[in-house]
């Protein structure tokens, strides 16, 4: 019997600054999300790719994380963070519309044990994009994010820097453990 099932799939077409997945089915053990993603801004070749969970508002929780990223033709950028009052995890960088209005990043997020309530949550991400006419618009990132508390993850918001609308196709998978 298949243990990997599609929970949700869809499209955001430049009509929102975030992809908001709410009411996530709690009957699976793990979640993964695949996206092709662009923040529709022309100021930068790539911008931060951000995740928050459970509709966290300002100062609600502490977030932490680390990402190692290549972008804009520069050397590796490594950042670690921990913060309250700014409840997002920076999961590397994803494409903007600076070089090519159609450029998108291939992104994958992993949320192990998202539905349990007995362990601190952390999640993994990786992003990349490639522009075949401009190497300095390529990007690559590996990342981890976390949040205080042991609550199950019931909602996930995915956005860019937050200042512009986004475009993406997405598929969310549930991984069974029984």
């Amino acid at each position: 019997m298949a243990s990997l099932e599609i929970i949700a799939e869809g499209n955001v077409d430049n009509d929102s600054t975030s992809l908001s997945l709410t009411g996530i089915d709690q009957s699976y053990e793990h979640l993964s999300i695949d996206l092709n993603f662009q923040e529709n801004q022309t100021n930068y070749r790539s911008e931060e790719f951000r995740v928050s969970v459970n509709g966290d508002g300002l100062s609600s929780y502490y977030y932490g994380g680390t990402h190692m990223s290549l972008k804009n033709g520069n050397a590796w950028l490594i950042q670690s963070f921990h913060q309250s009052g700014y409840p997002v995890a920076i999961m590397g960088f994803a494409a903007g519309a600076y070089q090519n209005s159609a450029q998108r990043s291939a992104c994958r997020l992993f949320f192990p044990g998202y539905s349990n309530t007995n362990f601190e949550k952390s999640w993994l991400g990786r992003t990349n994009s490639q522009n075949y006419t401009a190497g300095d618009s390529d990007s690559l990132a590996f990342s981890v994010g976390s949040r205080t508390g042991t609550s199950a993850i019931t909602a996930i918001a995915i956005r860019g820097s937050g200042g512009s609308n986004i475009a993406c196709n997405y598929t969310m998978y549930g991984w069974k453990s029984a």
Partner: protein
């Protein structure tokens, strides 16, 4: 292609060093696994050893290639002739506080293959993160490729801490990937 659950383990108590999956079915094309947890002890986060071992083999047949970010620095390196597949210091502990959380996703292509002349490779993405200031400098994320240089089908996986124990409720989930 489809994924089928082989086993799911949740650690109870504080005496488990390794999650030990034996008699792995030999009916799939590939294996895939998820790990979530950390060490239970108060050993400094950056010195907790974390190992994988296959088929109860403790000979010097393991290698690693790593690239990851920690704090604000990128690290890269490799090792050969190890007795385990190892990434020390990665998963964190209860040092300072209990706010460290770690995740690992792994994939083992052709785990039954005995004729590829390079043994087996494990592709892994891992990260651990602290949400407090004292732990943030030890948060890390990156890629890990492990090799077991033995031409045997993988039928057993041990994963965990040789010198520490698991924190309760850490989990390991193993899936078989079918080519149909």
């Amino acid at each position: 292609m489809s994924y089928e659950l082989i086993s799911h383990t949740t650690v109870s108590g504080t005496t488990t060093n390794y999650i030990d999956i034996q008699s792995i079915p030999q009916t799939y094309q590939d294996l895939c696994f998820w790990w979530a947890g950390r060490a239970n002890g108060t050993t400094a986060r950056n010195s907790v050893d974390f190992y994988l071992r296959f088929n109860n083999d403790s000979t010097t047949e393991y290698g690693n290639v790593l690239q990851y970010g920690k704090g604000a620095t990128r690290y890269a390196g490799f090792s050969t002739s190890g007795t385990q597949m190892a990434w020390s210091g990665w998963p964190g502990s209860a040092s300072y506080s209990n706010n460290q959380a770690a995740s690992l996703f792994g994939y083992i292509p052709g785990y039954r293959n005995t004729t590829n002349y390079q043994g087996h490779h494990v592709y892994m993405q891992a990260g651990s993160s602290a949400t407090a200031s004292e732990g943030s400098s030890d948060s890390r994320a990156g890629m890990w490729l492990g090799q077991w240089h033995v031409e045997q089908a993988i039928n057993r996986i041990e994963i965990g801490f040789p010198y520490e124990t698991y924190a309760p409720n850490s989990t390991f989930t193993l899936y078989g990937v079918k080519n149909s």
